[in-house]
């Protein structure tokens, strides 16, 4: 990361002016708040943090507006004072998108959190950007709807954060990514104006402002509310586990399902190492839900996975990649040193995958599939989907693995800390491409990361025209500096491999600081259009400067 410059700001005046806008209780310049808002969940920042280093970048102030009027006033003030604005949601981003590398005013949107309306005739809701994801989904469920967006960060992310990053939920195969569900946005632009982008997409001439602002990660404005499409809550859920010989057979089976026009809510294929890790920390034997065979009660509550137990105690049956790695190490009586030694010989562990793991385990690759929705259609679609999978060589393992996945589906994100505590680091790289290039992408990125780290993968967001791959890697190095160097090398080699194959460098985590250097490789000359949108919506360059590979504008 390059050292960013923070220009001197008259903090007393800034404090006074912000107080005049939001009152004394919703602005802070206290050190503890500035430290808190100095980072998001980008793993690279945790490496130094772990060693007790103070944050490198802090905002000058944090404000918690409650109304779009206050946001406008803060933006106008920032324009006048020429200080940056960093929109902030739940802080769960994993790419450093909310890090205030040039200081400035962090606008925390979480006090704008009303679900204002749900229109049953239009199937559209109007929701403020700061609403927490889990509460949003619970509020909708109470009214008989779902947004269908279930990222593993759902407890610590906001609707606005999803929109800003083009997030995906675990059931995206049915409901789409967040950008597929937006009917309109309310945005405060860098001109200090409120714009609304609503209107039926196909009826409006000109560029789609909604699609230009979704995914802009706070570089074009602050999203303050959105009109989002909702679906009736599912009447039926069907979940199953399958196994298949290898990744090639598994991806082919998924492709056939999707291209036949079937839309499971979720379909996940784990590669051999991920499958092996799964079996070591297995919940395969978890009992099936006893309420109704194969059918859950309608409107199932969101199951919390490990949340109540986090971070003090680990649940009895560990799930999640990190836990599984630790379980593997600890299951063999290894301690910290031994785990580090194993991660330090990543190429050996990776090699194991193609040979020993597969042969000994004889498990092939594990697949989880779930369908949900209106009762009649879901039943028919499930039958068609399962028979398509079987005809493609997948072996039915019954319902238990499917329900077990559903129960633990949020657990993984909360289990990074033990790994970091033990001196290693872990991160995930989510790339996507067309079916034709998918195995190339899998092998290239796996080889590129495998030089440095233990790497495993699953395929978890499928479309008729392609699929995403979610790589998880773990590695270790003697100290923070060496860890950062290793971390950067993994990302450089992994993303360059993805770009060479013709994949996108991010399917749903976004760009932030992490992938900013690779944006030109991703978009090439088309970056000119992004730059033009930037100069239109944020002419002074006050919004989230230094991110996403945009040219930096000097804040004179």
């Amino acid at each position: 990361m390059s050292v960013a410059s923070v220009k001197p700001v008259d903090v007393d005046r800034l404090h006074r002016d912000l107080e005049a806008i939001v009152g004394p209780r919703r602005v802070s310049m206290r050190a503890v708040d500035l430290d808190t808002y100095s980072r998001d969940m980008w793993p690279r920042l945790l490496l130094a943090y772990r060693e007790g280093s103070l944050p490198s970048y802090r905002p000058h102030a944090v404000v918690w507006p409650e109304h779009v009027r206050e946001v406008v006033a803060v933006v106008k003030l920032a324009r006048e004072l020429r200080v940056p604005i960093i929109p902030f949601g739940g802080g769960s981003g994993v790419c450093g998108g909310a890090v205030p590398i040039h200081g400035g005013i962090t606008i925390d949107t979480k006090r704008m959190q009303q679900l204002r309306s749900v229109r049953s005739d239009e199937l559209i809701c109007d929701v403020e950007a700061g609403l927490n994801g889990e509460r949003f989904e619970r509020d909708l469920a109470r009214r008989g709807y779902t947004f269908g967006h279930f990222p593993s960060s759902i407890y610590c992310s906001t609707v606005g954060g999803w929109l800003a990053t083009r997030a995906a939920g675990q059931l995206s195969t049915k409901y789409g990514k967040v950008e597929d569900r937006v009917a309109g946005l309310t945005v405060v632009t860098g001109r200090g104006e409120v714009i609304e982008t609503d209107g039926p997409n196909r009826a409006l001439r000109g560029p789609s402002w909604t699609q230009l602002i979704v995914g802009s990660e706070g570089t074009l404005g602050v999203i303050t509310s959105a009109r989002l499409r909702v679906s009736p809550a599912p009447q039926l859920r069907v979940f199953r586990g399958f196994e298949v010989d290898d990744v090639a057979a598994g991806t082919e089976a998924i492709r056939r399902v999707l291209q036949r026009g079937l839309r499971p809510a979720v379909i996940r294929l784990y590669d051999e190492l991920d499958t092996l890790m799964n079996s070591l920390g297995s919940h395969d034997d978890a009992p099936a839900p006893s309420d109704v065979q194969g059918v859950r009660a309608p409107l199932p509550p969101i199951e919390t996975g490990a949340l109540p137990a986090w971070p003090a105690a680990l649940p009895p049956k560990p799930d999640g990649v990190v836990e599984r790695l630790i379980a593997m190490a600890r299951g063999k009586g290894l301690r910290r040193g031994a785990m580090n030694a194993a991660l330090g010989r990543s190429h050996l562990v990776n090699k194991l995958v193609g040979t020993v793991a597969e042969k000994i385990a004889r498990r092939g690759c594990r697949m989880i599939i779930g369908l949900e929705g209106a009762r009649i259609r879901t039943e028919i679609e499930a039958a068609l989907t399962f028979s398509e999978l079987e005809s493609a060589g997948c072996r039915d393992k019954g319902e238990d693995p499917g329900w077990a996945w559903l129960r633990h589906r949020y657990a993984v994100s909360y289990r990074m800390s033990p790994m970091f505590r033990d001196g290693a680091f872990v991160d995930t790289m989510e790339v996507a491409c067309s079916w034709e290039r998918l195995l190339d992408l899998y092998h290239s990125v796996r080889a590129a990361i495998g030089q440095h780290a233990v790497v495993m993968a699953h395929f978890s967001h499928a479309y008729p025209d392609g699929c995403s791959i979610y790589f998880t890697f773990a590695a270790t190095a003697p100290d923070a500096t060496a860890s950062e160097r290793l971390y950067d090398a993994i990302w450089r080699d992994g993303l360059e491999a993805a770009t060479r194959v013709g994949a996108t460098i991010s399917h749903h985590h976004g760009v932030g600081l992490l992938k900013a250097p690779y944006m030109v490789g991703e978009h090439r000359e088309a970056m000119a259009i992004f730059e033009a949108a930037k100069s239109s919506l944020d002419p002074d360059g006050i919004f989230n400067p230094g991110k996403m590979g945009l040219r930096s504008r000097s804040l004179r």
Binding site: R119, D121, L123, T165, R166, A167, A168, K177, E179, T189, E196, G199, P200, N201, R202, A203, L204, R205, G206, P207, S208, W209, Q211, L212, G215, S216, L220, R229, Q259, R260, G261, A374, I376, R377, E381, L384, C433, S434, E436, Y463, P464, D465, G466, C467, T504, S506, H507, G510, M519, E522, E525, A526, A528, I529, E531, A532, A533, S535, S536, M548
Partner: protein
């Protein structure tokens, strides 16, 4: 060098045609030639106007040199990826020409109305109209995975092909619908589909247009994904189906479903139950057959081209329909309508507003006002409030305003 000579250098003499002393039509044969033409036009600050398969001229820039770029020779399929169901086709190929290439391979561009597909792909993508949608495949733009285009400075951009991404704004959506003002689209990567295993059609009679609309949304809520839906009001049904007399105020609903046989049947049954729940009943399927043949097999549709196309969201369809009907009839017009092109955004109403057998222009103008008050969307609506942002976006990419300058301004 004179602009004429530069154009000849760019595309060859055979493909440059002088229309008047400051207007030329060129027919480049490749994306690289398009880039060359635009770069040279830009140096002369000449306006660049795209022309698609229909040869329709946009509003030409007055008082300056003009280069009309025809996409007619950009008519090749560049790549067909049958494994990913993606096709990369040049902008001058029409939808129907592409369909003829895909058909023998068991593939299809999708259940879009053929009238939409008569345009060149570049035109279909660059110009947004509400009719470019299908109940089964959604808005045509959603099928666009990537776009290649030439910017005002002659640079060529290719948006990267991926099923979805999280690497900033969807830059192809700046080009789609922008009518040649942001970039000149030279090719696009589109999602295509396998031909469905089964196709079914059915026709129903319902006690009113409102009941028919309710039935449609009841079925869509049960997640039916029909390949086509159309509601005819009483007068329209009589006009379109010779001799068909529905009971007063009743409506005709035609529905098509497609997909794996079980799903196509399931969707048809879901529609039938929804119709019954709304007090309707199935009728002679021959009506639906005829509707589908007219739509997709080129059988002529009787009657004039509708006088007015109106888009409305699901919650506003009834209000807009009744407002137009009541108020135009109050001034003596004979008004009838069918409703079609349903998707998640809503549907399109096609009104025919006549007096003495010819279009009643005054009543049409009245209807346009009525539509806006009732919350509908007229063809060609712009987000006028965002004009300042669009202008700034154009200024950044095209400071001399050479790209289709009279459009979206």
């Amino acid at each position: 060098m004179k602009l004429h000579d530069e154009l000849v250098t760019a595309v060859g003499e055979a493909y440059v045609e002088a229309i008047d002393e400051r207007t030329w039509r060129v027919r480049p044969g490749s994306a690289a030639e398009v880039a060359e033409v635009i770069r040279r036009a830009g140096e002369h600050k000449a306006a660049v106007h795209p022309i698609g398969a229909m040869g329709r001229l946009p509003r030409l820039a007055p008082a300056r040199s003009r280069v009309l770029i025809s996409t007619r020779r950009l008519d090749q399929v560049l790549q067909l990826d049958e494994m990913s169901l993606l096709v990369h086709a040049q902008a001058g190929l029409t939808g129907l020409e592409l369909e003829r290439i895909l058909g023998p391979r068991g593939l299809s561009i999708g259940d879009y109305p053929p009238v939409v597909l008569t345009s060149s792909l570049g035109g279909i993508i660059a110009v947004r109209t509400p009719g470019k949608s299908s109940a089964r495949h959604g808005f045509f733009e959603d099928a666009v995975v990537g776009v290649s285009a030439v910017l005002a400075d002659g640079r060529t951009v290719h948006t990267r092909v991926a099923p979805r991404r999280a690497t900033g704004p969807d830059l192809s959506r700046a080009l789609c619908g922008s009518e040649g003002t942001i970039g000149f689209i030279t090719s696009a990567v589109l999602r295509i589909h396998q031909k469905p295993e089964a196709r079914l059609v059915a026709a129903y009679i319902l006690p009113s247009v409102d009941a028919a609309i309710s039935a449609v949304y009841l079925a869509l809520r049960e997640e039916a994904a029909p390949s086509g839906l159309r509601i005819y009001d009483h007068a329209e049904a009589a006009q379109h189906f010779d001799g068909l007399t529905l009971p007063a105020n009743h409506a005709l609903l035609c529905a098509g479903t497609a997909g794996p046989t079980d799903l196509a049947a399931c969707d048809r049954d879901l529609i039938t139950s929804a119709v019954v729940a709304e007090g309707g009943s199935p009728t002679d399927d021959e009506l639906a057959d005829l509707w589908w043949r007219r739509l997709h097999a080129g059988e002529p549709t009787p009657g004039p081209v509708p006088s007015l196309q109106v888009m409305a969201t699901p919650g506003k369809l009834r209000a807009v329909y009744h407002a137009v009907l009541t108020q135009t009839r109050a001034v003596g017009a004979a008004t009838r309508a069918h409703i079609s092109r349903f998707d998640a955004d809503g549907a399109v109403m096609f009104f025919t507003i006549q007096r003495g057998g010819v279009t009643d222009e005054d009543a049409v103008k009245l209807a346009e006002r009525v539509v806006q008050t009732a919350g509908g969307w007229l063809l060609g609506t712009r987000a006028v409030k965002l004009d300042a942002y669009l202008n700034a976006l154009r200024d950044a990419l095209d400071p001399d305003r050479i790209m289709n300058p009279g459009t979206l301004a």
